[in-house]
């Protein structure tokens, strides 16, 4: 702090050394606290009402399609022997589902937050550094080499367990199916797509050649460079579904964004009517008693539907108000009694 050399001499006569620094001494007197509590209470109640109402306006449609019940449409697909199973889930909307509609898939009792699972990826591979294609990091084990000792790209448990059910949505108009266009862009974080993850550079003009000498993750039906053959910008590690999956969920029950419905006739939302959802059922969850569901939702400024925040604000706001009133009573009582004493 200050020079100690002078310490033995006459002490500096400064406000700091003499501990006379001018100081602000706030006192939480009743005159400040009670109005303060009132204002905070009012503000919170206001925000709470806003949040709650907003949350109420958000439409949500949730459907479990795991296929536990025998009569459920996807029960058939839960039998292990069935390959490339497709099932159809139907639903009807009585009113317009205001757009833009967000299409989520949800998993429960699925622990993306397992520690070992979470570290099981090779960040250098995912930045397109082909050096690491040949020798994945140890943390990827047991998902770093296949049985023939070929390196797996992308290695690790997260990539290997990528969610691979796919969905097609149809509106049924007079018995005919009209495909609802699903928008797969912009479902992952902008920074993930644009900065954090990088594809390897193409070798001799061929993107697939960059992956030479490696094998796809064991559970993947196709290699990383084949994730979206229609759109090179959505292929490889920059595949948006892949990116969404790679951002680990915080809790064992979670939902991830699958598609947005923003185009064509459905830009304003899903009109009332009957819909059919074709599920390409690939992802097994029953072995660990998991569940899969589909969620249609629209969002507001506060995000998806969440009543908690609004209620919390209302409760805390009311609490503040109550406390302000109680304090006012106590204060008044004491003030009077003090005056009596005097």
């Amino acid at each position: 702090m200050k020079n100690e050399g002078e310490a033995t001499e006459r002490p500096d006569n400064t406000a700091f050394t003499q501990q006379w620094l001018p100081a602000w001494q706030p006192i939480l007197s009743a005159g400040i606290v009670i109005p303060g509590f009132l204002i905070i209470g009012l503000a919170f109640i206001g925000i709470g009402i806003g949040l709650f109402l907003t949350s109420q306006t958000i439409q949500v449609l949730e459907m479990d399609y795991t296929g536990i019940e025998k009569d459920s449409p996807c029960f058939r697909c839960t039998i292990q022997s069935v390959q490339n199973c497709t099932c159809e889930v139907t639903f009807s909307l009585s009113a317009l589902f205001t757009g833009p509609v967000f299409f989520y898939y949800g998993l429960s009792n699925y622990f993306q937050n397992f520690r070992k699972y979470g570290v099981s990826k090779d960040y250098y591979q995912l930045t397109g550094d082909t050096q690491y294609f040949k020798s994945p990091r140890d943390v990827c084990s047991p998902y770093s080499y296949d049985s023939k000792n070929n390196p797996i790209v992308p290695c690790g448990a997260i990539a290997n367990s990528m969610f691979n059910d796919t969905f097609e949505l149809y509106q049924i108009i007079n018995g005919t199916k009209k495909k609802v266009p699903l928008d797969g862009k912009g479902i992952s974080w902008w920074t993930d797509y644009n900065i954090k993850y990088r594809n390897p550079l193409s070798v001799n003009g061929s993107f697939a050649s960059a992956f030479d000498g490696t094998v796809k993750p064991i559970n993947w039906p196709k290699a990383a460079y084949e994730l979206d053959l229609t759109d090179p910008n959505n292929n490889g590690f920059l595949n948006q579904d892949f990116l969404v999956w790679m951002r680990r969920a915080a809790l064992p029950q979670f939902r991830k964004l699958y598609r947005r419905i923003t185009e064509g006739d459905y830009a304003m939302g899903l009109p009332a009517g009957n819909y059919s959802l074709t599920v390409h059922y690939n992802y097994p969850v029953l072995s660990f008693d998991g569940r899969k569901k589909l969620v249609f939702s629209n969002v507001s400024w506060m995000g998806g539907k969440n009543d908690f925040l609004g209620i919390a604000y209302l409760v805390v706001g009311s609490l503040c108000m109550v406390m302000a009133v109680v304090m006012l009573i106590v204060y008044a009582k004491f003030k009077f009694s003090e005056e009596d004493d005097a």
Partner: protein
């Protein structure tokens, strides 16, 4: 430790067997001795530093890791390195490194200062006489046996035997201020009859091995003369000049080195200072233990639950998270153990690594405030307060017992001659002043209203005052003063006389000599064993000084034996009444005793003066006896004492003197404030009871209403009972009165404003104390002690008079080790207080309550780690950390440490003025009030509440992780970051709520910390860090801020978790503006 060992190997190894060392003056072989074997002594290097450049690292590290917390973190760090754990070793390694580094820097800096001081001493140029030449040498090169020259105002480079002085009378003056704090001049003597030519002095010195007692030294010097028996001279402490003392009022001295370097008395006295642990550190350790228990139970709970949870099919190893072969092969129990360790590592931050460093920094910087304080600055000696150890600052706030010396501490030790009593007649000095006009030789200084003693008695008394002392006339400019004085004697100007400079080891002596001067007898000085005084007729009288029987605190008197011109041999003796009265004729005593006692009750220091005439035979016996005793190597002290006692008998009493020792400025106010603060003040003094008692009344330690319980030799005198029986009876009686009948008062709150409580004062004297401490029957000892202690603890003030220095220390030790181990503080100035000061906890000061922040820190960590614990229930007990490693690492050392440090340094929760006005406020913080278990529990509960709130608040928010208006979802790191943000803001704002004294530094640090957190988070998440193997926080913070919901949840959680604190602050607030500050802190209104 190590240093000492080395020293003993190099220096004392071969000497261990003999109890004396032989030194050859100037390294010259002496004829008569067997063989000249230059023994090996250690060099004159002083090493007070602990470390050297090369051993600093290992030694310092070793010492730091002996601290529990550091060692614990080292273990955690090693576990992280060895076992596969959830967080990288960096997370605990970095804070540990930081703590270790900061501490090492602090200790290194302190050691560097010591090195500098050592070097200054060791490289100081000194003059050594070598082969007839003066050689300049570095101080560290001095060897035992070297003859060293020292000039005025220099400090002695080693322990020297004084051989030669530039003063004619073979004396020199030193001050030992840096050794024992006494700034008086002390006289030391050359070895008598040494050759003037030091170059060729063939002599050996035989003296005892080095020992730390500053006031003890025995030795013998053999001077060899050709063809003659070697002459033997005795050496005592008066011949020994101690390293560290300063030469005063003497141009130059030469001396032969006897002890060097680490064997000097100074070095021996400073060695082996054990590091005292402060009470705060002890309670911190206790709290740490509690948290360690919480930590272990958390880890056990998690490990158990993990295996319970895994036993369910499919949970342990779902298809998406297969184990590799190695994991499958691992033994089940080993896995459990590593899991346990992993949980320990995950939760280990519950124990705040930075706590010790915060406390240490606070103490270190806090000590600067003491040094800097202008109010501690003494303009007279141009010195401020000096903090010798920063480890004990906070103890100052916890003091329960204050032990104080009387002379020089309560009083100014600045004596003034008040009156005397000659042959039973009273002479008032102040009266004579006013009657100077009528001053004539025959009239004398006698108050005309009173009878006066015979002129002969009067003059004898004044001569005695002039002769019986060890005062020296100040050399510089003495002639000038003398002429002034001669000129002024007719002009009725007493001022020049006043200006005459005297030097003495005790200010009473000067006062007495001055007093005699007032009455017309002036001491002119001592020259070559002859004392000159000027009598009332302005004639010079000369006396040959034959012997000085020095003052010592046991005898409590001193004597001189002088020979008059006419050949008479006289012994003059002055001393405390108790030591003189038994040695004079009883009928003389009666006339004077009354005066002495009256003077004593008025608070003056009294001395009695006696004399006797020695016949030639008597003197011859005394002379040989004294000489023999002085030469004795063994038991010299006892022999001298016996001889003194033998000589000082059968005297006749001439009179008594009264000298006033004024109270220090504001002594009374200070004492009152100390008592008001609930501290118990004990006065420990060597003075007589009456004097001490009146001083106690004067400084309001005893007040009119105080009931005095006296336990002294006087009260023990009882015809019927033996002393010990009486003692027990009195003790029981006092115990009943002061302890049993007294209303039960909490310790530390004895004195109050209400007069309902009877105040007790307790008086005990040295003789009785030794009876209490060492009764004849050992079995009674504990009973006596406990009775005594209980009485003392219930008294507001305790006066212990007639104390020997060792008894002072004994008392302090007894109180310190009593129940509840109260913190003790000793104040003193003299050498007789050193042992007492060393014994007590604290040297001196005013401030406290800093221990508080330590506990705060730990509750920070509870709400920090609790969410991490709760998260385990949601991640399959897989030890997934909630927060990023950077946050884990930085939390303690960066985000939360600075505000707490600033708070602990700068907070004045009550303003200075109010504090000074209301000493009772001190009670609030005494007994480590801020560190007791109740607040600790409160903070723990609060921490748990907040931890739960943080975690579940965000948990409910994340029931729908789509928190942005673009529908994208947040992942686990966003979760952790939101919790962490709430956490950092909450703990910082909570501290802000508690801060009552906002200086710009507080503002800067509190808002700065928050700003730093935000800035750091942006920065940390804003860049792809090339050295990281994963970029898990990349843009997490920025994304979080783009979500309105995240903002809202952060705000509401901060508010909710601060709500209890706000409520507490508000509810505890006093109502009404007048009483608003003091009100709060007083347990009762007055």
């Amino acid at each position: 430790g190590l240093c000492k060992k080395l020293n003993s190997i190099y220096c004392g190894g071969d000497e261990k067997r003999v109890d004396s060392r032989t030194i050859y003056v100037g390294h010259r072989p002496c004829p008569d001795t067997e063989a000249f074997i230059p023994s090996k002594f250690c060099d004159n290097r002083i090493v007070s530093s602990k470390y050297t450049v090369w051993n600093f690292l290992p030694k310092n590290l070793f010492e730091q890791f002996r601290r529990i917390a550091n060692f614990y973190f080292l273990i955690i760090f090693l576990v992280q390195v060895i076992v596969d754990t959830p967080t990288s070793p960096v997370t605990s390694g970095l804070p540990l490194f930081f703590v270790i580094t900061v501490t090492a820097i602090k200790q290194g800096y302190e050691d560097w200062l010591r090195h500098k001081a050592d070097n200054e001493v060791n490289k100081y140029p000194v003059t050594v006489l070598e082969d007839g030449r003066s050689v300049k040498k570095e101080s560290e090169k001095i060897k035992v046996g070297d003859v060293v020259e020292v000039v005025e105002d220099e400090t002695f480079p080693c322990d020297l035997i004084l051989l030669q002085s530039s003063r004619e009378d073979g004396t020199c003056f030193v001050t030992t201020a840096s050794l024992d704090g006494e700034s008086n001049h002390k006289t030391h003597y050359t070895v008598p009859d040494t050759e003037k030519d030091l170059q060729a002095l063939p002599a050996t010195i035989e003296c005892e091995q080095p020992q730390p007692d500053l006031y003890k030294f025995v030795g013998r010097m053999h001077i060899y003369k050709p063809e003659q028996e070697p002459a033997v001279r005795s050496l005592g402490p008066e011949n020994l000049l101690l390293k560290g003392a300063t030469l005063k009022n003497t141009k130059k001295i030469s001396g032969v080195t006897v002890y060097t370097g680490m064997e000097t008395k100074m070095a021996l006295n400073y060695q082996g200072k054990s590091q005292k642990r402060s009470a705060v550190e002890k309670s911190i350790n206790a709290f740490l233990l509690v948290y360690l228990c919480i930590l272990i139970s958390k880890a056990v709970v998690c490990t158990t639950l993990k295996y319970v949870w895994q036993s369910k099919e499919g949970q342990d190893e779902p298809w998406y998270n297969q184990k590799n072969q190695k994991e499958k092969d691992t033994n089940m129990y080993l896995k459990m153990f590593t899991d346990f360790l992993s949980f320990m590592v995950l939760f280990n931050f519950i124990i705040p690594v930075s706590m010790y460093v915060t406390v240490e920094m606070q103490k270190f910087l806090g000590s600067f405030f003491i040094t800097w304080d202008k109010d501690f600055f003494d303009p007279e000696i141009q010195e401020g307060a000096l903090v010798n150890t920063s480890d004990l600052n906070e103890e100052l706030g916890q003091v329960e017992y204050v032990f104080t010396d009387k002379t020089g501490t309560l009083t100014q030790n600045n004596m003034e001659f008040i009156e005397c009593c000659i042959d039973g007649f009273q002479y008032k000095h102040r009266d004579t002043r006013s009657e100077l006009d009528g001053f004539t030789v025959t009239d004398g200084p006698v108050n005309k209203l009173q009878q006066k003693a015979g002129q002969e008695k009067e003059e004898l008394f004044l001569r005695a005052l002039c002769l019986c002392h060890t005062v020296q006339v100040k050399e510089a400019g003495s002639e000038e003063v003398l002429t002034d004085q001669v000129d002024g004697i007719d002009g009725m100007q007493p001022q020049p006389e006043e200006e005459r400079g005297f030097i003495a080891s005790s200010p009473d002596e000067i006062a007495l000599v001055r007093g005699a001067m007032e009455y017309g007898f002036t001491f002119l000085g001592l020259e070559s064993k002859s004392m000159k005084i000027k009598n009332r007729e302005n004639n010079i009288e000369e006396y040959k000084l034959l012997h000085v029987l020095n003052f010592d605190p046991v005898r409590r008197r001193m004597s001189v034996i002088v020979q008059t011109k006419s050949g008479e041999t006289l012994l003059f003796c002055k001393g405390a009444d108790s030591s003189i009265f038994p040695r004079v004729k009883p009928e003389e005593v009666d006339r004077i005793r009354m005066h002495v006692e009256r003077n004593a009750t008025e608070g003056y220091r009294t001395l009695c003066v006696a004399y006797k005439q020695l016949s030639a035979e008597e003197y011859a016996v005394a002379d040989t006896g004294l000489r023999e005793a002085r030469l004795a190597l063994q038991d010299r002290e006892q022999k001298l004492m016996a001889m003194y006692n033998q000589v000082e008998t059968g005297m006749s009493l001439i009179g008594a003197t009264a000298v006033e020792d004024r109270l220090q400025e504001e002594a009374a106010e200070t004492m009152e404030a100390l008592q008001g603060a609930g501290m118990k003040v004990w006065v420990l003094t060597g003075d007589k009871m009456e004097t001490a008692k009146s001083t106690c009344y004067a400084c309001r330690l005893f007040q009119r209403g105080t009931e005095l319980l006296e336990l002294t030799v006087r009260t023990l005198e009882d015809g019927r009972l033996k002393r010990e029986e009486k003692l027990l009876e009195l003790l029981r009686d006092y115990h009943r009165r002061a302890v049993q009948d007294a209303p039960p008062v909490k310790a530390g709150v004895t004195r109050s404003w209400s007069t309902a409580n009877q105040d007790y004062g307790f008086i005990i004297d040295g003789a009785t104390l030794s009876l209490v401490m060492n009764p004849s029957r050992e079995a009674d000892a504990s009973q006596y002690r406990s009775l005594f202690l209980q009485i003392c603890q219930n008294c507001t003030a305790v006066l212990c008079c007639r104390m020997a220095p060792l008894q002072k220390a004994q008392i302090v030790k007894m109180v310190k080790n009593s129940k509840g181990s109260p913190i003790t503080l000793s104040i003193g100035d003299g050498a007789n207080d050193v042992s007492m000061i060393l014994e007590a906890h604290v040297g001196i000061g005013i401030k406290g309550k800093e221990g508080r922040q330590a506990v705060r820190n730990s509750d920070y960590n509870l709400c920090f780690i609790l969410p991490q614990f709760l998260y385990q229930f949601f991640c399959g007990y897989s030890q997934q950390p909630l927060y990023d490693a950077a946050y884990l690492t930085m939390y303690n050392i960066c985000f939360t440490s600075m505000p707490i440090l600033a708070y602990s340094l700068l907070e004045q929760h009550i303003s200075m003025e109010i504090l000074l006005d209301n000493a009772a406020l001190y009670r609030e913080i005494a007994n480590n009030a801020m560190l007791r278990w109740r607040p600790f529990l409160y903070w723990t509960v609060l921490g748990i509440f907040q931890g739960l709130l943080f975690f579940f608040g965000v948990r409910f928010l994340f029931s729908n992780p789509a928190l942005q208006d673009n529908g994208q979802v947040f992942g686990n790191w966003s979760y952790g970051t939101i919790v962490f943000t709430v956490l950092v803001f909450t703990v910082t704002l909570k501290l802000a709520l508690d801060t009552r004294h906002w200086t710009w530094i507080n503002h800067f640090v509190i808002w700065g910390s928050l700003a730093f957190y935000v800035f750091f988070s942006f920065f940390w998440g804003g860049i792809i860090w090339p050295f990281l193997k994963q970029q898990r926080l990349y843009f997490v913070f920025a994304n979080m801020l783009s979500s309105v919901s995240a903002w809202l949840v952060i705000i509401i959680l901060i508010l909710l978790s601060l709500l209890p604190e706000i409520l507490l602050v508000v509810l505890r607030k006093p109502r009404g503006p007048h009483s608003r500050q003091v009100y709060l802190f007083l347990p009762f209104p007055f």
